[in-house]
């Protein structure tokens, strides 16, 4: 447990900014447009969810210079929504006593990895067809094995 920085509470996440890499930000915008999604956080959530499917830890992102999204937007402002996301992220990371910074870095890494895979789904597996895209995502989930903690 990191004692130098306060241990993260749910309420801390609400006002925290989460930044992707600039590449991820660009792909996020492109996919948002392609899928006709109204907000930036929509593809971001899908990306983070998809990355969490892979039990291996994502590669840390060095350049988190994309446009930020507040925690209450990215994960939802309802306590329970936030709690589910935080639970999944912390469980995947296997970390005890995660701090705000650690969470920001983890989210940036998942966002990046997930967005790369999401883009691949869109362009290659789904042939840029929305119905195929969602169908392939539904197929994908459940194929991965349990993550190691």
């Amino acid at each position: 447990m990191n004692r130098e920085e306060p241990v993260l509470q749910l309420v801390d996440v609400l006002r925290t900014d989460f930044r992707p890499s600039s590449d991820t930000d660009a792909l996020n915008a492109e996919l948002q447009q392609a899928l006709c999604l109204p907000y930036r956080y929509h593809p971001a959530r899908l990306a983070i969810g998809l990355s969490l499917q892979d039990p291996s830890p994502p590669t840390p992102v060095q350049d988190a210079s994309g446009r930020p999204i507040k925690g209450e937007t990215l994960f939802g402002h309802e306590e329970h929504d936030l709690a589910v996301w935080l639970g999944l992220l912390i469980e995947h990371s296997g970390t005890h006593g995660i701090t705000k910074r650690m969470l920001q870095e983890t989210v940036a890494a998942h966002w990046h990895r997930g967005m790369q895979r999401l883009w691949l789904h869109w362009t290659e597996h789904a042939g840029q067809d929305i119905l195929n895209f969602y169908a392939s995502l539904l197929d994908t989930a459940g194929r991965s094995g349990p993550s190691s903690s």
């Binding site: 999604l37 983070i48 709690a83 589910v84 996301w85 999944l88 469980e91 005890h96 989930a141 349990p146």
Partner: protein
């Protein structure tokens, strides 16, 4: 007599009857036409006027035409027995011998691909029979300016067989043999071109041989041999005016079929009756009268000449106005038929189709709404359920499992002791501080308890990873994680819904696009309707204006005629020139009357023949009668006497109508004459083709069909094969120079024959 070189004996009886009604007599008409035909086409009028001087000075015309002319009208079967041509168009030498006609086998079939010489063969027949009289646009009437001669010369020059010209052989000929009522008749026409390929009128020679021995037909002294022999051809065979109805190609039928019905009929009638010759003779007489009155003297004569000129001018105006009126009436008829068709079409489109379009548009609106709703659900699903689902069942299970473990360790639950401690804490707080507005609500109690548990957990010996999840939140998280698996089914349902909506949308769009095509048709038809209505109004105004002009011309014409008659009568018999002019003037009026009366009488008989032939040829069973009214309009009626307006609906039917008209005119002109048709079936559908072939087989005289294999191929050949007397094939054989020649062999196309 020359008159029979332009009017057949059969048609002549209508002219003669009209002449008798007009008090002129057949003999008078024949004499006047004779004079016109002798010199009427000449630019210098002196010879014509001199002939008319002696005619008008003489005894009154005999009411009867010479007996031999009348007798000549007796129809008898005529058949073509041979065609021989030298250096004629694509043929160096052509020789066709046809068997004697039998009613069982009335057909002669001559095959040839394009360029093999079918049209050249037809031309050999027509030019051989009629010489320069064959050069005129079908029904174009007489070219008084001599253009016919010049066109004929050019045509003859172009018809010389090219290899013959190259080797300096500049003579060509066509010889036709017929069996006629008076025995065999052989017509040979020869043309001689100059070294530079030019042809002059005098370089044509016409020879007629009659009888089994082929005796040369003598030419009476003092007569023009060609004119005399040409009249004999008309008398013994047929006049040139009838030729377009007996010897025709598809192009000719097409040209006639392209005209309005009224126009087709009028042109046919005028042509057969030689009406243009009668009108030309009337114009000659007016010219003559004007000229002679001028000679009377400077005062009265000039005044009368001026009146006569005015009469001539007014008559010309009247004719011109009547022709324009006829055209306008025809156009009104066409516009009315067009308007009726458009309205029928519009009625059809505005009924079921329009309602169906509205229904489809409503369905499309509903489908679009459904699609939008499903897409909104998918967007919500994509942002709420799907991301957590995507994290995968393994991670979700793992988290659930850990949360349960942490709870079972007891570190994250408040025990009864803790609850008592918290209760005691609030009692002390309230009693010691006595705050004015402080109440221990259940929410406050719950939060304090959660903080207590968290504090306790942080100091617990158990490794708590999700210490921030306590109390009810922890339960909700676990429930959501467990339920996430349901997302898959929910997602599938949404995808299926979207798929259905998309497919329905595509289908509707396709159907609406089709309907929009009809809708575009509707707009186009409405545009046409407005245009036609405006056009009709304009035409009707024009018709009324023309009718007023005609009335004005007629009201001006009658007093002038009366004034002229009175003036010429007052000048008495003492002045021969005046007397002759007066008589010429009267005769001109009579000839015009004859032309109109003969046309009316002939039209009536033609209507009956046309009804018969059209019903035979067209598959329009409902047509009972085609009648030509007094106003020249054609009225087509069904069995109940109701008018049928859609006869002109298709080009194919007009084509059939043209052929029916030809058949009717041929029938009136003498069903006993041979008919030669060059690829006449091209545009027709199967049923019409079969009917026309049926008609050919039923004819009581020879029918020669020129055809290519696509026209009369296997199917149609099978239909007529038993009725064919002989078959020939025309083939073009090119030589190294690229020109070559066409030759004829017995038989038909090998492919068609080898069925």
């Amino acid at each position: 007599m020359r008159v029979h070189s332009v009017i057949s004996p059969e048609a002549w009886r209508f002219v003669a009857a009209a002449g008798a009604e007009a008090g002129l007599g057949a003999g008078g008409i024949a004499t006047l036409l004779e004079a016109g035909l002798q010199h009427g086409g000449e630019a210098n009028r002196r010879r014509l006027f001199a002939d008319l001087d002696s005619l008008l000075d003489g005894e009154p015309f005999s009411p009867e035409a010479p007996a031999s002319e009348v007798e000549a009208g007796t129809p008898a079967r005529v058949q073509l027995r041979s065609v021989e041509a030298r250096n004629w168009s694509v043929y160096r030498h052509l020789k066709l011998d046809l068997p004697e006609f039998t009613p069982e086998q009335p057909l002669v079939l001559i095959g040839g691909k394009n360029g093999a010489g079918k049209t050249s063969l037809l031309a050999a027949l027509v030019f051989g029979l009629f010489g320069y009289l064959s050069v005129s646009d079908l029904f174009a009437g007489v070219d008084r300016a001599g253009r016919m001669r010049s066109a004929y010369r050019r045509r003859i020059e172009s018809l010389l067989h090219r290899p013959a010209r190259d080797r300096g052989d500049l003579a060509m000929s066509v010889a036709l043999s017929f069996d006629t009522a008076t025995g065999p008749l052989r017509i040979e026409r020869r043309w001689f071109l100059s070294a530079d390929g030019k042809f002059e009128d005098e370089d044509e020679e016409l020879i007629l041989q009659v009888g089994a021995d082929g005796d040369l037909l003598p030419v009476p002294p003092g007569t023009d041999p060609t004119a005399h022999l040409q009249a004999e051809i008309t008398r013994r065979l047929l006049p040139p005016t009838l030729a377009p109805f007996l010897f025709f190609d598809g192009e000719q039928v097409e040209r006639l079929g392209g005209r309005r019905l009224e126009e087709q009929l009028r042109l046919g009638v005028e042509s057969i009756l030689g009406a243009s010759y009668l009108r030309a003779a009337a114009a000659d007489l007016r010219d003559y009268a004007r000229d002679r009155i001028r000679d009377v003297g400077p005062n009265r004569g000039e005044a009368d000449a001026s009146t006569l000129a005015e009469v001539g001018e007014l008559e010309a105006q009247e004719r011109d106005l009547l022709e324009r009126l006829e055209r306008v009436q025809g156009a009104i008829g066409d516009s009315r038929s067009g308007r009726d068709r458009v309205m029928t079409e519009l009625g059809r489109l505005s009924g079921d189709t329009y309602a169906a379009l509205q229904d489809l548009l409503e369905q499309q609106r509903r489908t679009e709404g459904d699609t939008a709703r499903v897409k909104a659900k998918i967007a919500q699903f994509a942002v709420e359920d799907l991301p957590v689902f995507l994290a995968g069942v393994a991670l979700r299970d793992q988290l659930c499992h850990r949360l349960e473990e942490e709870e079972s360790a007891g570190a994250l639950t408040a025990d009864q002791g803790a609850d008592l401690t918290i209760d005691r804490f609030f009692e002390v707080l309230v009693s010691e501080t006595r705050p004015s507005s402080f109440a221990v609500t259940p929410e406050l109690a719950s939060r304090v308890r959660d903080e207590w548990v968290r504090w306790k957990a942080e100091r617990s010996a158990v490794d708590i990873r999700h210490h921030y999840l306590i109390g009810r939140t922890r339960e909700v998280v676990r429930t959501r994680l467990r339920n996430a698996e349901l997302t898959r089914e929910h997602g599938r349902t949404l995808m299926n819904e979207l798929s259905r909506c998309t497919a329905a949308g595509v289908d509707l769009e396709r159907r609406i696009r089709e309907q929009h095509g009809w809708s575009a048709d509707r707009e186009r038809l409405q545009g046409s309707l407005e245009e036609l209505t405006a056009n009709l109004e304009a035409l009707d105004s024009e018709r009324q204006a023309l009718q007023r002009s005609i009335d004005q011309v007629r009201s001006a014409l009658e007093p002038k005629r009366e004034q002229l008659r009175a003036s010429l009568a007052m000048q008495g018999a003492g002045l021969p020139a005046t007397r002759r002019a007066r008589r010429a003037n009267e005769l001109a009026g009579l000839l015009l009357q004859v032309a109109d009366r003969a046309a009316a009488a002939y039209s009536s008989e033609l209507s009956a023949a046309l009804t018969r032939s059209f019903r035979e040829l067209a598959h329009k069973e409902l047509i009972a009668e085609i009648a030509v009214g007094a106003d020249g309009r054609i009225r087509v009626t069904d069995r109940n006497g109701r008018a049928i307006d859609d006869l002109q609906a298709s080009a194919g039917e007009r084509h059939v109508f043209a052929i029916a008209l030809m058949a009717a005119i041929a029938e009136l002109g003498g069903a006993s004459l041979p008919v030669v048709m060059d690829t006449p079936l091209g545009r027709l559908d199967r049923e019409h083709r079969e009917r026309i072939l049926q008609y050919c087989m039923a004819r009581r005289s020879q029918t020669i069909l020129l055809s290519h294999t696509e026209e009369i191929g296997d199917r149609y050949l099978a239909q007529i094969e038993d009725r064919i007397a002989v078959q020939f094939l025309l083939e073009h054989r090119p030589d190294p120079s690229g020109l070559g020649e066409s030759v004829v062999t017995e038989g038909y196309f090998a492919a068609a024959g080898a069925r």
